[in-house]
Amino acid sequence: MSDAKSYEPGHHPSLPPPKNLVGWQRWVWDNLFGTVTNTILTLLSIYLLYLILPGILDYFIFDAVVNASSRAECAELGSGACWAFIGDRFSVFIYGFYPDELRWRPNLTFILLILALIPVLYDNTPFRKYGLYFSLAFPIIAAILMVGGVFGLEQVDTRLFGGVLLTIVIGVTGITFSLPLGIILALGRYSNLPAIKVVCTVFIEFIRGVPLITLLFVASTMLSYFLPPGTNFDLLLRVLIMVTLFASAYMAEVIRGGLQSLPKGQFEAADAMGLKYWQTMRLIILPQALKISIPGIVNTFIGLYKDTTLVIVIGMLDVLGVAKSAVSDPVWNGLSVEIYVFVAAFFFVCCFGMSRYSMYLENKLHTGHKR
C-alpha cells in the first residue's frame, strides 16, 4: 500500500479488467468449458474432429496428387484426391469452349465487371458519379466484348460459352436485371390501379407456380415450336430471359414484404408533403422497404446463382456441366469427388462473398430498426 497514489475525485484512471476476464482464456472458459454440458460437448467435438480430420486432411491435402496426367497415374502416386485432374482441365472449367486466342475478351470483361461493381457496391468510391455511368453502360459493353460481331471483334457463338464463364454470365445477368424488374413488379402488385395490379399479380403467381426447370425447357424446346421454323433465337439469350423473369417474380414478393412492413403513416406523410407517386416511392418508401428487404434480396440472389447449374438439363455446360463432361474422359473417368469439391468451393466463395456484402450493407444502413 506504500505506493498507493491519491487522485482528485473523478480523475482516477480506468484500470484494465482483471486478467481472467479478458482475452482468449475468458472466451474459452465462457464458450467451451463454462458448464458441465459445455465441457462434455467440447470434449466430444474434439474427439469427433480427431476421428474425422486426419482422414479429410490426408485425402484432400497430404495424400493428394497435384501432378499427373491420368487417373491411373494419380492412383499410383497417392491414395488421396487427384487435383491433377482439376489442374489439367482448369482452363475449360473457367472459359468453357471460348476460343483460346480470344480469351482476353472474357478476361477484360471480368476486370471491367469488377470496376463496374465497385461504384455500385461502395458509396465512398472516388468519382462515384462517373463510375455509376460506367456501371450502367457495362452490360452493353460486356455483351459487345463477349459476343462480338461489331467493331471488328470476331463473333463468338454463345454455344461456346461454358464453365465458370457461363455461370457468371447467367448469374450476373439474372441478378442485375431481376432487381429492377422485381421492384417494378412489387410496386405494380402494391398499386391501386386494378389493371396494373392484376397483370403483375398474374405474372408473379404464374412464374412462381412453375419450377425453373420447366421454364428452361420452355426456353430451349417449346419456343422453337412457337417461333417460325428455323428462327435461330439464341439459346443463351432465351435462358437469360427466363432466369431473369423467374428471379424477378421472387424478388417482387421479397420487396413487397418490405413495402408492407412500412407503416401507413409513411405514405400519408409523403402525400401530405405533396409528393407525386414516383417521388414518394423514390424518396420515402423504397429506401426503407429495400433496406428491410436486404436479407431476402440477397437470399434470392444466392438462390438464383446456385440455380444456374440447372441449365445442364437443356444441354448448356456451366461449371458443373463442363466438369461432368470432362469426367467422362476415359483418362480421368471416376473422379467425381474432386469435381464436386471444386464446384462446391467455387459456389461457396461466390455465395459467401454475397452474404458478407449484404451483412456489411445492413450494418451500414441500420438506422434504428436493428435490435
Partner: protein
C-alpha cells in the same frame, strides 16, 4: 450482362436466320458448319478434353460427316443435349444430325418423326457382379439386390427379364452412373445393370477391375444409331452413306493412313468406287467424289474409330463383339457402295 444488347443481337440473328426447310444439305453447305447433336458427356462416346475439344466415338462420326459434306472435319458445332432434349433439338433445327448413343426404336422412328440412318454401335443391357459372389450367369441372380437407374428403359427391361425367369430382385434405385458406382462398390447392391458399354466403362475405373465380371447374358437390344429429321431424304442419304462408307472402309482395309495412296492406285474396284477413283457416287448424294476419302482421313475407318475410343487398348477396353464386321463374326454389315 447485357439483356438489351443481346436482345438486339437476337433480333438481328432472328432476321438473318435461314428458314430451315427440307434442304438441310444445302443449308449445311451454305452455313459451312454442321450442327451435330451429342451427349453432354458419356465415357468413350462424347466428352471434352483439356482444351475443351470434343472427343469420343459419336463425336468422330460427326467429324467424319463434316469432312465428307464440308471438306473439313473441324467444321462441326457440337450441340450437347440431355436424354430429354435430344429429339427436340433435332426437330427444332438446333442440330442437323444426331449422334447421341440413341437406341433405334420403332416409336422413335415413327412417332417422333425421325429417320434413323443405321446403327453405329450394337449395345445391350448387361449385369456386373463381384467375382467373389461366385455367380456365372444372370439366371443365378434370384433375390439379388440390383442397382438400377430410375426412369430408364433398363429399369423396364430388368423387370421384364426377372419376371420371365420367375425370379425376384430387390431394386436399389439410383440416379446417375456415378451414384451406381459408389453404391455398387460399397456393397449396397450385388448387381449393377445398365448398357454393357457403360458397365465396361464403369468397371475400368475400379481399383481392381479384375475382381468384377460382366455376366454373359445380354437382356435387351440397344442398337445405337444416328438420326436426322424425317422428310429430308437428300440429307438422310448423304449422312447414311458416310456411316456406310466408314464401315465399308474397314472391310476393305482403307485406313486414314493409306487412304490417299489407295485412292491414287486402287487395289480393287470396290475401293476405287469408295474413294472416288471410279464412278460418280459422291455426286449421287449431292457431294463430290472425294467425300468418303475425306471422311476416312478425318478419323479413320469404323475400326479405327472404335479402337481409338472404346477398344481394348483404351481405358474402357471393350471388345468388338457384335460390333465386329460380319466377316469377323460380328453383325456390322454395310450395303455396298456401287
Amino acid at each position: 450482362m447485357k439483356l438489351k444488347s443481346i436482345l438486339v443481337a437476337g433480333a438481328a440473328l432472328a432476321m438473318t436466320a435461314t428458314v430451315a426447310n427440307a434442304a438441310t444439305l444445302e443449308d449445311v453447305k451454305a452455313s459451312g458448319e454442321l450442327n451435330c447433336i451429342v451427349t453432354t458427356g458419356l465415357v468413350g462416346f462424347a466428352y471434352t478434353d483439356a482444351n475443351g475439344r470434343w472427343n469420343g466415338f459419336d463425336v468422330d462420326f460427326c467429324r467424319a460427316t463434316a469432312a465428307a459434306v464440308l471438306g473439313d472435319g473441324d467444321k462441326v458445332k457440337f450441340v450437347p443435349t440431355t436424354g430429354k432434349t435430344r429429339f427436340t433439338a433435332l426437330s427444332s433445327g438446333e442440330g442437323d444430325l444426331l449422334y447421341r448413343n440413341t437406341t433405334v426404336t420403332m416409336s422413335r422412328d415413327a412417332d417422333l418423326k425421325l429417320t434413323f440412318l443405321g446403327v453405329n454401335y450394337y449395345d445391350g443391357q448387361g449385369f456386373m457382379v463381384n467375382k467373389a459372389l461366385g455367380v456365372t450367369s444372370a439366371k443365378q441372380l434370384n433375390g439379388a439386390s440390383v442397382c438400377i437407374q430410375t426412369g430408364t428403359t433398363t429399369e423396364l427391361n430388368l423387370a421384364d427379364y426377372f419376371r420371365a425367369q420367375g425370379m425376384s430382385y430387390e431394386p436399389v434405385p439410383i440416379e446417375t452412373n456415378e451414384e451406381a458406382r459408389t453404391n455398387y462398390l460399397s456393397g449396397r447392391c450385388d448387381v449393377y445393370t445398365t448398357d454393357a458399354s457403360g458397365l465396361a466403362a464403369t468397371r475400368a475405373t475400379f481399383e481392381n477391375p479384375k475382381d468384377h465380371i460382366l455376366l454373359p447374358e445380354i437382356i435387351s437390344k440397344e442398337p445405337l444409331g444416328p438420326a436426322v429429321r424425317q422428310g429430308d431424304d437428300a440429307w438422310a442419304d448423304a449422312t447414311r452413306w458416310v456411316l456406310n462408307a466408314l464401315i465399308e472402309a474397314e472391310e476393305y482395309g482403307i485406313t486414314a493412313a493409306n487412304a490417299d495412296e489407295m485412292a491414287a492406285n486402287p487395289p480393287n474396284p470396290n475401293i476405287a468406287r469408295i474413294l472416288g477413283a471410279e464412278g460418280n457416287y459422291g455426286e449421287m448424294i449431292g457431294l463430290d467424289n472425294q467425300w468418303a476419302l475425306r471422311a476416312i482421313k478425318a478419323g479413320g475407318n469404323y475400326g479405327e474409330i472404335f479402337d481409338r475410343n472404346l477398344g481394348p487398348n483404351t481405358e474402357i477396353g471393350l471388345e468388338r463383339g457384335l460390333n465386329a464386321l460380319w466377316s469377323n463374326g460380328g453383325i456390322l454389315y454395310a450395303p455396298p457402295i456401287r
